[in-house]
Amino acid sequence: MNVLELDHLHCAFGKLVVTDDVCLTIGEGERHVIIGPNGAGKTSLINQIGGQLKPAAGRILVSGQDVTGKPPSHISRKGVARTFQRNNLFQNLSVIENLRLALAVAFGNPLDVFSMAARDQALIGRARQLLQLTHLDGEEKCIVRTLSYGGQRQLEIAMALASEPKLLLLDEPTSGMSPAETARMVELIAALPRSLSMLMIEHDMSVVFSIADRITVLHYGKILVTDAPAAIQANERVREIYLGMAH
């Protein structure tokens, strides 16, 4: 069964159509990248899947279940996790506290009023695994706002992975990163389990082609084409409107 199915999705801000009749499916374990010029409606699309934005028409199915218009917390519990284009963390809390919040709702009892949250060894163990996976071990006690920018991007990924999602939505995970940080991030994403499906927005073409199984090109809210990376590279129209512009 497809992990994600977008069925004639439509969304507009006033007269500006940001999502125009988008149909897209993502299979189990697929790594799907969306590209497109600025203002193509990429982030708006992710926001609709994540529940931050309500589509005007169409349906969003996660593992066959309709989640259209449901709040973000509901969609999160259906196994969809996301990162944000701009770091969107708990800036005043420590790295481990950030992860504990994400883990508590997935694996703990967030309504618990008796136990000490800071002493939940099961969650702390999981948090340390995630930190290792995202190369953040050693930063456990660091207050997030004092963490390096790249470190914060890595924590974004760790937070999204905390709930052990089926589908990971990545909104420009390498934006604002140095080439060295970008390389580490690509390595990190590539090393994630193959069973995890991904929908990723990315501008950096080398990143796109090193990760994508399939690519969708979005243009003024419409899907121009969805195809394998090699076919996208060969597509005249794509070259014309997107690749040509970027280089």
């Binding site: 973000p72 519990r77 994400a102 618990d112 136990s115 000490m116 800071a118």
Partner: protein, 612 residues
């Protein structure tokens, strides 16, 4: 028919006075995102200074022209020196700052002009009556209506037709855009603030002959003006105008024909508008508040803090034995208000929701004990249990509507709901005694000891204080408390990782309401008396001050703030009449220099190594 027209004219008069207030409030909010709680104070200052100028010169017209000048100067000083440094912070701090100023201005007026009601005579040229087809009307009132409409028209022309007005309108929509138009934003802010103050002061002078002058007229005009801008739409001049006339007329007719439910209906209208059209009838949609500067990391207890807490507890146990009855009773009162302040801090400091209506739940708890005792002879302790449950139910119901919003709309909604509770307490005299209040039918005993003994009262309140403190500390350190803190820090992220944040906010609000109800019930047992004053919005403001003064976002802060506030009120007031100013200034300094409150400042004093 003549009566009806007279009522209509009276309604228009009140509406015009509201417009003088609401136009400035609305512009200031629209442009600067500041909810100016001191706006009523400028109205009051205008009225009193006008009164003095009238008595010096004998001319009403001179008073009308001259009185606004010093008031505008005060307003500009306030904007330049006090509000401006806060623009970089969340606008909650600005709300709080203006609230601190209301204390200072109230005290100023009370000191200079006394506490009695004064009247500004109607100008001689307008003392006559005018015969219009339908009857005989006061010339002054007709003048007032004409004056108000003329000012409204002038304002409209200024905003719509002048370049300056275009900048203000652009600024209301988007400050960045206004800067792009070449507007000098800081000067524009000062100008609009000063202009708003000018309108309020003018309104104060012309209101003199109609409303009378007394300290307290500031809040009496501020709250209806708030209702006006909430219903009309914040940032909209048209909204302020239509809203003013609507509320002015509705209030006048309501008082004449529906005495007991008029107040209730007006607050209900405000709530319905906020829920259905949060931006008001003509308002533009405004963004939610950014989180206020309360952020603090979670600090787990260490052996050192635990030892300090134990020493503090032992000191509190030993303390009353060296004290006389009066200080014992005062400290008992501090314990009760500390419970109240901690309950507010759960939503304010830990969940990041600023409520200006928390006294409603204190009142529900208090009235439950008093009313159930008087009507059914229920023991006060059972009444206390009932009070906590009723306050929790009330908070659950009110919270259900309030937590859908955040920031300033949340502040306004909680204010409106608490005023709704207040209007019930005030008007349902048969049961509550209204503003005269009602006594507690029978004081209970505490495990067989009589609470009329100050030592027993002290320990009874201490037990509850310690229990609530420990309970809340447990809650804050538990996963649920961390979820509340997560919502304070970043609600959108909490939702994205799977927390149904609205339900969590409602839970925090309900727990806070229940604990406030406990404080209210204890207060009746302590005080033996409750009146509607305890539910008035200024009571919510006081508890907000206590919490912020001590340090919101910590559990130790609110009790410290409650102690500081009540000691000032009771001790300072015994040798200085100016305790209100002292509290006001202390609070203003706190907002400006110690955003973390007293406890925040103490923590900063510690050497860096001592911090966990």
């Amino acid at each position: 028919m003549e009566l009806l027209v007279a009522q209509l004219l009276n309604g228009l008069v009140y509406g015009v006075l509201l417009f003088f207030m609401a136009a400035g409030l609305s512009l200031i909010f629209g442009l600067m995102n500041v909810v100016n709680l001191a706006h009523g104070s400028f109205f009051m200052l205008g009225a009193f200074i006008g009164f003095s100028i009238f008595h010096l010169t004998g001319s009403f017209w001179l008073a009308l022209v001259l009185a606004p000048i010093p008031v505008v100067m005060i307003g500009i000083v306030m904007e330049l020196w006090f509000l401006r440094p806060l623009y970089a912070r969340g606008h909650m701090d600005q709300v709080l700052l203006t609230f601190g100023f209301t204390f200072v201005f109230y005290d100023l007026v009370q000191t200079v002009w006394g506490k009695v009601v004064l009247t500004l005579p109607t100008p001689a040229s307008l003392q006559s009556t005018v015969h219009i087809g339908l009857g005989v009307f006061s010339a002054y009132r007709l003048f007032l209506i004409g004056f108000g409409f003329a000012v409204a028209l002038l304002l409209w022309l200024l905003l719509e037709r002048s370049r300056l007005g275009a900048m203000v309108r652009a600024g209301v929509d988007n400050a960045g855009m206004a800067a792009g138009l070449g507007a000098n934003i800081p000067a524009l802010f000062t100008g609009v603030f000063g202009f708003g103050v000018l309108l309020a002061a003018l309104g104060g002078v012309v209101a003199g002959p109609v409303l009378g002058l007394y300290p307290g007229m500031d809040t009496d005009i501020l709250i209806p003006a708030f209702i006006v801008i909430v219903i009309g739409g914040m940032g909209s001049l048209r909204g302020a105008f239509v809203g003013s006339l609507l509320i002015g007329i509705a209030d006048t007719f309501g008082k004449a024909y529906l005495q007991n439910v008029a107040l209730f209906l007006i607050y209900l209208a405000m709530i319905i508008v906020l829920l259905i059209r949060p931006q008001g009838l003509f308002g533009i949609k405004y963004a939610d508040a950014p989180p206020s500067a309360l952020a603090r990391t979670i600090m787990p207890s260490t052996p050192r803090t635990r030892a300090l807490a134990l020493i503090a507890l032992l000191a509190l146990i030993a303390l009353p034995f060296g004290l006389a009855d009066y200080p014992r009773a005062l400290i008992a009162e501090i314990f009760i208000f500390a419970i109240f302040a901690m309950s507010l801090d759960l939503i304010l400091g830990f969940t990041g929701l600023m409520s200006l209506g928390h006294a409603a739940f204190f009142g529900l708890g208090a009235y439950s004990v008093a009313v159930l005792g008087a009507q059914f002879g229920l023991n006060a302790w059972l009444g206390l249990v009932a009070g906590v449950l009723i306050a929790a139910a009330g908070a659950g119901l009110i919270g259900f509507f309030c937590v859908r919003s955040g920031g300033i709309p949340f502040l306004m909604l909680t204010l409106a709901f608490s005023q709704l509770v207040f209007s019930v307490a005030l008007k349902w005299r048969d049961v509550t005694g209204g503003s005269d209040g009602m006594p507690l039918a029978m004081q209970p005993s505490f495990f067989g000891f009589s609470l009329s003994h100050s030592l027993v009262m002290y320990f009874m309140t201490l037990v509850f204080f310690v229990a609530v403190y420990l309970g809340l500390r447990r809650l804050i350190n538990a996963p649920l408390g961390h979820a509340f803190i997560g919502i304070r820090e970043n609600e959108a992220r909490m939702a994205a990782i799977g927390y149904p944040t609205r339900a969590y906010k409602l839970l925090a609000f309900t727990i806070a309401g229940a604990i406030a109800g406990l404080a209210g019930g204890l207060y009746v047992i302590y005080n033996g008396f409750i009146s509607s004053d305890a539910v008035y919005w200024t009571a919510s403001g006081d508890i907000l001050i206590m919490t912020m003064l001590g340090g919101a976002g910590t559990l130790i802060g609110p009790p410290i703030g409650a102690a500081a506030f009540l000691l000032m009120k009771n001790v300072v007031s015994s040798y200085s009449e100016h305790w209100l100013s002292i509290i006001g200034v202390a609070f203003i300094c706190c907002v400006l220099f110690f955003p973390g409150g007293i406890w925040g400042a103490v923590q900063k004093l510690q050497p860096a190594g001592a911090k966990p």
